[in-house]
């Protein structure tokens, strides 16, 4: 319990710092939520409450914005986030096969996080690099021209 409280206090301090750095006007809300997602992996209830005070916005309003954007998350996510492009141009150059290889290797459905909290699997629309499809994005590392048998090798880089 005590350590939980320490964690909470630390998180609140970090959130205050983020708001101080970015700003507390309405226009700053999305950049602030982006930063919180990057830092903690997701936007917790606690974070939303604190932001509500700091930015003078109803919690409902913050939640409604936080759930609208795909790059923001209100659910805990894994240590590494894998995004797979599911748009047609990648699909037609073998994306479907690569995606099932990826799902098999991870044992995850899109949107799920692994039990050990290591991976979250997400699908995304076109990442604008269709010239080298199929494309997998792990955190900020981009892999292009991926084939099914490369999937395991890519994942092993994050061991």
């Amino acid at each position: 319990m005590v350590s939980d409280q320490i964690k909470e206090t630390e998180q609140l301090e970090d959130i205050r710092e983020i708001v101080e750095k970015i700003g507390s006007t309405r226009a700053d809300l999305i950049p602030v939520l982006q930063e919180i997602t990057n830092k903690f992996g997701y936007i917790s209830q606690l974070a939303i409450k604190e932001l509500s005070d700091l930015m003078s916005l109803p919690t409902k309003e913050i939640l409604s914005v936080a759930t609208f954007y795909r790059m923001l998350s209100t659910q805990p996510r894994g240590e590494h986030i894998i995004q797979f492009c599911e748009s047609a141009p990648c699909h037609v150059v073998g994306g479907r096969e690569v995606f099932s290889a990826l799902q098999d290797a991870l044992g995850l459905e899109p949107g799920q996080t692994s039990a050990d909290n290591k991976w979250t699997l997400l699908t995304t629309s076109c990442l604008g690099v269709c010239g080298i499809g199929p494309v997998i994005l792990v955190d900020t590392d981009m892999y292009g021209n991926v084939t099914s048998d490369q999937v395991k090798n890519i994942l092993s880089r994050y061991d």
């Binding site: 982006q34 409604s64 141009p89 629309s125 076109c126 604008g128 269709c130």
Partner: protein, 425 residues
Amino acid sequence: MTVRSMILISNDPESRIRGSEKLFSEFQQQLAHYDLADEVSLTLATDLGSSYASPLVIVYPEAVIYGPITVADVPYIVKEHLYKGRIVDEKRAPVHELSGKVAWLSAREGTLPAENRVVLKNVGVIDAEDIEDYIANEGYQALGMALEMSPDELIDLIKASGLLGRGGAGFPAGLKWSFVKNTDSDKKYVICNADESEPGTFKDRVVLEGDPHAILEAMLISAYAVGADEGYIYIRGEYQLAIERMETAIQQAEQYGFLGENIFGSELSFKVHVHAGAGAYICGEETALIESIEGKRGEPRNRPPYPTTFGLWGKPTLINNVETFANIPPIIRNGSDWYRSLGTASSPGTKVYTILGNVNVTELIEVPMGITLREVITIYAKGMKSGSFKMAQTGGSSGSIIPASLQDTPMDFDSYNKTGVSLGS
């Protein structure tokens, strides 16, 4: 009296050792001598980025780079260049070797007869992270020329060029600018729509990554035309490199005085922000994009009112696509007749396309408007990989399906609309 030229003197530590401040006062005296002090603005720029020929002196709007310059050179440069209007060739800085760090496009300019680069002229050729590379390639010259025109003259020039918006709808750019210009307001905004999320298109990304200053220069020009003093570049969050390069470009432009207060000594003041998208396809739609910058869910507004009268925070707002903006500096530099010599009568200029699919070469091309799909496939994509051509899709996944029967229809807004299909973005 309006300022017609601007002189930048490098004032980095090295230039300072070599007497940049003395240069400054000598320029002041000489300008006063020729009675040019009111017409020529003089600035000690913190750092012109390179010491290869310091101290450097850059004269706008011609964007001539002189260097290394000593006090003894100043009277001659002022007399010849500023007074008589003749560039002093023998004092120009040696040609700066371009580092060419942007290597995305294969260096194949000129290999195909029809390829005419306007939008992609600098992409893959200059170092996108070095403002000097841009300046050495006519960069910020169009801004200087634009500031010598009145906003109305400028808008007339864009109208005369016939430039149509490249964000999908093909709306005449000059007309949109005039709507914003003609709406009275104490505050106006300019937004660059760089949300590019049509699956299969990445032309805007390549421009943002390869030539970010061209977008800043175009936004500055449009801000002057419509009377705005603040701008946003809304870049989709996934385009990390584009976001970083644009932020670097903004910093450099601020350092050089291309962004800030009273640019080139004119009444134009402009600041610009990068807004990274948070992942929502719909935010490419201009009113949803505005909501998103305001910190809300990116849901489209009912229209009218249109952003030109009621945009960001309710203020008149000009929104153009990346590729639309990228056409502005070349139009100003070369004129509307030149622009109309490219493309078709109803859709002047060029269009950047990404070619993807069952073809031999998938790539990014820039071609004159009005080229046919057959030409794109046989010449640029080097033919179908297998089988014969059945259909193609334009402008991303929400564009149109173009059947084989239309492969000889010119690809321009008008011809496509007439046959009931759309060119898309």
